[in-house]
């Protein structure tokens, strides 16, 4: 352990020597893809036949690898749809990563030269990959499959469309609604029907009436769900956090500042962010003693699937569901969900196309929704359906399969959800989506914790986000 001073030059020399012998990056990745080329994919009976005994409309066979999706680990909606595909295309041998989408996992899979053929990823993240040319445009595939892009809700379609081309097929469609805890409203002397959700003063007043403090916070009045739903509050003011094409940060605009200030005021009225968040983290969110059943919240905007959780775990807790509206009273809700895409490097584009179009086709969704309905019926539970991004599938599911006549309040809730679907908006395909979200989240958190004032936080965030977008858009 002597002569540490020599360490640095020696390291440098070792590295230079290594550099001279080491393969360059290019040859490395070229070599890396070699063994894969010689692997079974080619030795399988290639796409020669008519597609076997399958009923699928396309000519597809061979192997497929799907990243970001689970069959073995998936639920009945996932399993049924894959089963439908396997039935239609018996010549396609598909395997799944069985894990959820992760940027890191997808990246390493792509870098390996043995890229996945199809990928299931959140629509919020898709801009990053489109900008880097990782995904194929799907115009031809959709033509081939006879899939009309207009069957998808516009909000979802916009999220996956760049320069007029769709790069992914939207899968689920999660929108937000106000969930109102009737018991809390009664306790506060409020009528769930009478609060005007387009009037922010009225929201603030309800918040103050609903909050309950019994030595410590025991009931949150109204949770604005910041920073997650900031863009929805900004929409309500007629503003946006980012331009429609995802290329311009609008974080430093008056509407954003006003929305953050308002959210902060709601949280302050509940005792401040520390107490607020700590209390929220103690909730039995997915359990029978959830925050509604335990009367720990007055109202909050929430993804619609949470209605299922409530219906299943605390069927006796009464709720009212209202659309999230802007200041004019028009429904405006944030939506998100996953989508299916084909990687640019796939060596089996036909099977990939057959797979992703089948997964989001109307009949496939209907089969899956039916399977879940049967399961629910067997379990004696209400079936609130599946919210897909395919509007035609939704029509069948909610008209023919979902029958909530025995559950009037749920039926009403589902109706509210369905009404908001056509006008829902989503996060646009920004080339630096993840960095934008980081900038937004940190800015809101800095404001809520009092580390920075709104103007400072938002102008910092705006500069960071814009730099990141510009750098990524090269």
């Amino acid at each position: 352990m002597t002569r540490w001073s020599r360490l640095v030059p020696v390291l440098a020399i070792v590295m230079l020597v290594l550099a001279a012998c080491g393969p360059s990056g290019e040859s490395q990745s070229a070599a890396a893809s070699e063994p894969d080329g010689s692997q079974p994919a080619g030795s399988e009976p290639a796409a020669s036949g008519s597609g076997g005994e399958g009923t699928g409309g396309m000519n597809a066979s061979g192997e497929l690898f799907a990243y970001g999706f689970g069959y073995e680990t998936g639920d009945i909606i996932a399993k049924t749809r894959v089963d439908v595909f396997n039935e239609q295309y018996p010549d396609v041998d598909i395997t799944f990563s069985e894990s959820g989408f992760e940027d890191q996992g997808f990246l390493t899979a792509l870098a390996s030269g043995d890229a996945p053929d199809v990928v299931n990823l959140p629509r919020n993240k898709i801009g990053t990959y489109i900008a880097r040319g990782v995904l194929q445009p799907l115009t031809d595939c959709m033509d081939q499959a006879g899939l009309d892009p207009n069957v998808f809700y516009e909000g979802a379609r916009n999220q996956v469309t760049v320069d007029g081309e769709m790069y992914a097929l939207p899968e689920f469609y999660n929108t937000r609604v106000w969930i109102i805890n009737n018991a809390a409203f009664e306790d506060a002397g409020l009528d769930p029907e009478s609060v005007d959700w387009s009037d922010w003063d009225s929201i603030a007043q309800a918040n103050e009436a609903l909050v309950k403090n019994d030595g410590g916070l025991t009931r949150i009045g109204i949770d604005p769900k910041l920073p997650e739903f900031l863009s929805m509050w900004v929409r309500a003011l007629g503003g946006q956090v980012i331009s429609d094409d995802g290329m311009e940060s609008l974080l430093d605009t008056p509407e954003v500042a006003q929305a953050v200030e308002f959210g902060k005021s709601l949280i302050e009225a509940n005792g401040g962010i520390n107490e607020f968040t700590d209390f929220r983290n103690t909730w039995d969110f997915f359990g029978a003693n959830n925050q509604v059943a335990a009367d720990q919240i007055g109202a909050w905007p929430m993804e619609q699937w949470y209605l299922n959780v409530l219906a299943e775990n605390s069927p006796d807790a009464e709720i009212t569901v209202k659309p999230f509206v802007d200041q004019e009273g028009n429904t405006t809700t944030l939506q998100d969900g996953n989508s299916w895409a084909i990687t640019a490097d796939t060596d089996n584009p036909d099977a990939a196309c057959a797979f992703i179009t089948t997964m989001v086709a109307k009949d496939t969704w209907v089969a899956a929704a039916q399977a879940r309905a049967d399961q629910r019926e067997a379990d004696g539970l209400p079936n609130t359906g599946v919210y897909t991004a395919n509007s035609e599938a939704d029509d069948v599911i909610f008209n023919d399969i979902v029958d909530l006549s025995d559950y009037p309040s749920l039926q009403e809730a589902v109706q509210v959800v369905l009404e908001g679907q056509d006008t829902a908006f989503g996060f646009p395909p920004s080339p630096a989506g993840a960095e934008f979200q980081q900038a937004l989240t940190d800015a809101v958190n800095r404001v809520l914790s009092g580390e920075a004032d709104v103007q400072q936080a938002l102008s910092d965030a705006d500069a960071e986000a814009q730099d990141a977008i510009d750098a990524a858009a090269r």
Binding site: R6, L7, V10, E72, S99, W283, A288, N308, V386
Partner: protein, 303 residues
Amino acid sequence: MATDEARSADARAIDRPGADVKEPIDWGRVAYNVGFGVVLLFFTILFLYPLVWLFFASVKPGSEVFSGNLLPSVWRWDNYPRLMDQQPVLQWAWNSTLVTVLASVTVTITSALVAFAFAYFRFPFRGVVFGIVLASMMLPGAVTMIPNYLIWDFLGFNNTLVPLWAGNLFASPFYIFMLRQFFLGLPRELFDAARVDGANYLRMWWSVAVPLTRAALIVVFIFELKVAWTDLVRPLIFLRDIATFTLPRGLKAIIDNPSIGGEKHFELLAVGGILITVPMIIVFFLGQRYFIEGIATTGSTGR
């Protein structure tokens, strides 16, 4: 605080069983022992309670996992078969076992070889070369991740268990450093005596150095057992098929279950956590005898 006092107290108890009874009560010592017991109990609870909590969470109905009560209202032992029905848990457990054993055996042997070279041989630039060992230990793992991935992929071991342990064939800087410390603690004369007896260096390493550092080697072995058993990053990168998953990778798959509608089963997650942790607890209990014995042996013969 004083270890000698403890030992002498033990020794006395062994030498003269029952002798303490007749002595007048030393209240100072009683208070010391009571205080000692309280401290011991306090730390034991501190370390064990969260794991106890995890166990009870694994036998609760799903709705009670986050409730304030430690005990479940209904004991749901069927959470265990439920998880095993849903996932190939036994296959994962086998994969984990295989990887862990191979990783631990290889890294212990090779690290002991390398560490011995640094401790015993005199060769040019030894200090500098050892500096490289230290330096390589300091490199943030994230930097070498992608290139390492490409190398294993190039070698054709993607989606197999090989990359999870084969890197250990090349020793580990951490253990080299650790074992070198132990080897340095051995008197050089022991080896010189073996050399006089005509043993070559490999033989000397195997028959003199290794037995004398058995305790340290077992420490390395157990450390690596734990590292390999709980490793998540490498399985995440290299494994894609569910049949090749290790237990932590499988648990991650359960966490990432892409189901929609809030169908997360935290009680099954707790089951997974228990299934990962319990084998390590058993191994540690079993290995402990050798572990302690080994340390004790070194303590007496090494000096």
